[in-house]
Symmetry: C2
Subunit: 368 residues, 2 copies
């Protein structure tokens, strides 16, 4: 078992990573202050892990709500279902919410916790690779709006994160690959040695070798915890973690939530960021090739869908949170492991990249 | 013009109180950092003050959303309308929301600002007495749920509060009286001299004498600003401001939002708190009489509706935010101007008060 810390003063919290942590009450119960616990999960995860999670909560007044599974349900209506469950059980300000599931469950549960009675504590038990390496850490919570991804939300830090690596055994291959996209992201942003390690060990991750997965999760969480501690509310450096996300969110919103997985959209988005960086003369064609090759090796798309036109892309990117007073800011690359946030690029080059993307062909089997 | 400050470190903000402030850009524009401004108001206030508010925002990229008027619309669906307006106008993280209206508009707008793109700034321009003396100050934002009042929300402080006392000229008498309930509250909680002043000058407030209103608003805001500065997140003393509110919220939810005005329900709730305090032997019958007499002098109800049974009251109060691990905490009186938060009372006495209330007769004309 590895324990990392997200250092945020009196809101600091631990990330526990290891095999079999889910059934172990020692990691969970010290972070529950009151008597009431609402466990939030989805229809996919509930049959697999709900019973085990409840077993470690037997000392509490515990209830659960089981939501539909999928990004298309990450909206205010679903949050309302959590509120209704809390109120029906007359849970009060001392209640703790527990998110058991992937990124969607974590985002919804965290946001419900942020808003219920103006804020109650919550705990993350991520059961997907994507949630374990990214979304469960850092306190970004929220839901989508029909007009834009993650547009409604709050910063609300969990009391702890419990990443039980054995829960990945039941993850389907497509979800595993989607999680690997966020792992690759840390290499591309600021950890070139990790990127090189991933080039060498991608087959082990895809084969679900426990040591390889544990190493990738720990190194990803270390990267994330460090950035979050330095810039909790994303006034600066934390924006680097959005590499591939402005393009990716446009893909998710443009194709309809749930069509592309978040990680798949981010993978294609990172390749677009690399391509744009190369066309701006900031990185070499070889770096683009390395980036695309690693995505493809992970079974991830390296191209956006062909049915989003340049204008539709620009329209969708214009409502991204990274837009400031009309200037589109993007996370681009000055090298493998050297990402920058910038609005200092020639938009005609961006247009060229988007034109080429919408005219290109999908290179990922899952998309065809 | 009077300027008070809510002292909250780097989130401190001014309260401007005076006649004719609404049309004066000097009070508003220094608190708007970006270019985009979304003005949120309702169908009652818009014809009266929207044009004047917009005039002082001519330098900005300004849009507005006009909501239906009333507590029954203070819900997530209405917040969703604000999100839709923001996204349709492609407003980003630098946008500022401006709440122009009563307490409902302020609560909705503040909550929308707290959640839009995980938090954008907002400004309060309260146009009712209740909003000017209470709800616009202190950063409590949120909406109702069918199962409980103010159950969904956030602490999100405004950048400034602009209370233009001339906007009260258009307030109808019932709304004015509802605001006076919250004014009386400050006297009952901790300001016995103010309570005595109100006993002497109630007729001047009801006659809308400008000096009397200005004095009552300023003294109320001073009381509130001091409590909020000492206990922003209501971990202690701030809970005193809920005097009458646990009973009051039960009345509002139990009769259907919008039937009783919030201030009317709080007025009856304060009388119930006084009655319970007397039956516990904490205050004299004379103090109860003074409390009820001041409510009646203000044209406010001193009794709850007769159609809420004891059990229904208890059920509704059980989901109030003041309940902690099953113990109902109430704000009660140890004297006029000496409120306490306590769960240390005999519940059979509470039951007796509730029984008497539901068997009693309404004493307020507007309720009959």
């Amino acid at each position: 078992m590895t324990e990392l810390t997200v250092a945020l003063g009196n809101r600091s919290y631990p990330i526990h990573i290891g095999a079999g942590l889910l059934g172990d009450a020692r990691y969970l119960t010290p972070h529950i202050a009151g008597r009431q616990v609402m466990l939030v999960t989805d229809e996919t995860v509930a049959p697999l892990y709900l019973r085990r999670a409840l077993a470690s909560l037997s000392d509490f007044d515990c209830a659960q709500v089981v939501l539909a599974d999928g990004e298309q349900f990450k909206n205010l209506d679903t949050v309302e279902r959590v509120f209704e469950a809390l109120l029906t059980h007359r849970f009060n300000r001392t209640a703790t919410l527990v998110a058991l599931g992937g990124g969607v469950i974590g985002d919804i549960t965290g946001f419900a916790a942020a808003c219920y009675q103006r804020g109650v504590p919550f705990i993350q038990i991520p059961t997907t690779l994507l949630a374990q390496v990214d979304s469960s850490v850092g306190g970004k919570t929220g839901v989508n709006h029909a007009l834009g991804k993650n547009m409604i939300g709050a910063f609300h830090q969990p009391r702890c994160v419990i990443a039980d690596t054995t829960t990945l055994d039941t993850l389907d291959d497509r979800q595993l690959r989607a999680g690997i996209a966020e792992v690759i992201k840390y290499g591309l942003i600021s950890d070139p040695d990790f990127f090189a390690w991933l080039e060498q060990h991608m087959h082990e991750l895809l084969a679900r070798r426990p040591e390889a997965l544990a190493y990738a999760i720990e190194r990803s969480c270390r990267n994330k915890a460090e950035v979050v501690a330095a810039d909790e509310l994303e006034t600066g450096r934390r924006a680097l973690l959005n590499l591939g996300h402005t393009f990716g969110h446009a893909i998710e919103t443009g194709t309809g939530y749930g069509t592309w997985l978040h990680g798949e959209a981010v993978a294609a988005g990172m390749c677009m960021a690399a391509e744009l960086s190369a066309q701006l003369g900031w990185i070499s064609a070889a770096d683009v090739t390395r980036t695309e090759a690693l995505m493809l090796a992970a079974g991830l798309p390296a191209r956006p869908p062909t049915n989003l036109s340049r204008d539709r892309f620009l329209e969708l990117m214009a409502i991204d949170k990274k837009v400031l007073d009309g200037r589109l800011r993007l996370v681009l690359l000055k090298g493998i492991g050297r990402a920058v946030v910038t609005d200092d690029f020639d938009s005609s080059v961006l247009h060229r990249v988007l034109d080429a993307a919408s005219g290109g062909s999908a290179t990922h089997a899952a998309r065809s």
